[in-house]
Amino acid sequence: MDIILNNRPESFDFEKLTISEILKLKNYSFKMMVVRINGRLIKKPEYNLADVVDGDDVQILHLISGG
C-alpha cells in the first residue's frame, strides 16, 4: 500500500497495517505522540486496532518535553 506518512509518500508491502505495526516498521520509539489517520484522532488504546490502508494520510506527531 502507498500512504502519506507525516507529509511524505511511503510504501509498505502490506495491504493494511495498524498504527502499532507502522511504529514498529519505522522504528519509531516515541513515548508520547498524537496520531491521526485522515485527520481522525487515534488514541493510544486504538493503536493496535486502527487500520491504515492504501491512500491514507497518517500523521504521527512526536511530543517532547520542554517549555
Partner: protein, 199 residues
C-alpha cells in the same frame, strides 16, 4: 494596517494560554503588549528560583502562584488587557469549560504527556479552535532548526527535536524565541481575516 488598527482588531479577541511557565508567561506578555483584549491563563504551579532563567517573573515573586503573578505582571504592562487567571491543574475534563470561548489556544506546558493531553482534548472537544503548540525548545544556539508548521487547526512551533534534559536545560533565549513564535502565529491567525495581509 497601522498599530491602532491592529489594536482595534485585537481588542475583541480572546486567547487561552495553557501553562504559565517559560512558553506561557512570555507568549502571554507578547500578546498583551500588542493589545489582545482578553487572555485566559491557567497554571497550578508556584514560582521557583530556577524558573527565573526563562519565565516572565521577578525575584520577589518566588513562592507565589504563577497564574496570579502573571496576571499582575501583565496588568503592569498593559492594563487594558483583561486577564482571567485560573490557579489549577488543567486536565482533559476542564479544558473545554476554561477555553471554550477562546479564538485561539496556546499550549504552553513543559511535559510531553501534558502536551499530548491538551492536543487530544482540543481535537476532541474544540476541533474548530486553532491550537498553537511549542515543541522542542531545549538548549541554546541552532536558531535555524526552529520553525513553524501547520496541520489543519494545529500549529507547531519549535525544533521538534531537542527535549529538555539535565544537560540540555530550557533557557530564556530559545524558550523565548518559541514563545514569541507562538504569539506571532496567534497574531497571524487573529489578523488573517483582515483586508490587509502579507500572504
Amino acid at each position: 494596517m497601522n498599530f491602532s488598527q491592529i489594536k482595534e482588531k485585537l481588542k475583541d479577541k480572546t486567547v487561552g494560554v495553557a501553562g504559565c511557565g517559560g512558553l506561557g508567561s512570555n507568549c502571554a506578555v507578547a500578546l498583551a503588549r500588542v493589545g489582545v483584549g482578553k487572555l485566559i491563563i491557567a497554571d497550578f504551579d508556584v514560582i521557583d528560583e530556577g524558573n527565573l532563567n526563562r519565565q516572565y517573573f521577578f525575584y520577589h515573586q518566588i513562592g507565589e502562584k504563577k497564574s496570579l503573578c502573571l496576571q499582575q505582571n501583565i496588568h503592569l504592562i498593559n492594563p487594558t488587557t483583561r486577564v482571567t487567571a485560573h490557579d489549577l491543574m488543567l486536565d482533559s475534563n476542564n479544558i473545554y469549560e476554561i477555553f471554550k470561548d477562546c479564538d485561539v489556544i496556546v499550549e504552553a506546558f513543559d511535559k510531553a504527556e501534558m502536551k499530548q493531553m491538551i492536543i487530544e482534548a482540543v481535537l476532541d472537544k474544540l476541533p474548530q479552535t486553532p491550537l498553537v503548540i511549542g515543541l522542542g525548545v531545549a538548549g541554546w544556539g541552532d536558531n535555524n532548526s526552529i520553525g513553524c508548521r501547520q496541520l489543519d487547526y494545529l500549529y507547531i512551533c519549535g525544533d521538534e527535536k531537542r527535549e529538555v534534559t539535565d544537560q540540555l536545560p530550557p533557557l530564556a533565549p530559545r524558550v523565548g524565541i518559541v514563545a514569541n513564535m507562538q504569539a506571532n502565529t496567534v497574531l497571524e491567525i487573529l489578523l488573517k481575516d483582515s483586508s490587509w495581509t502579507l500572504y
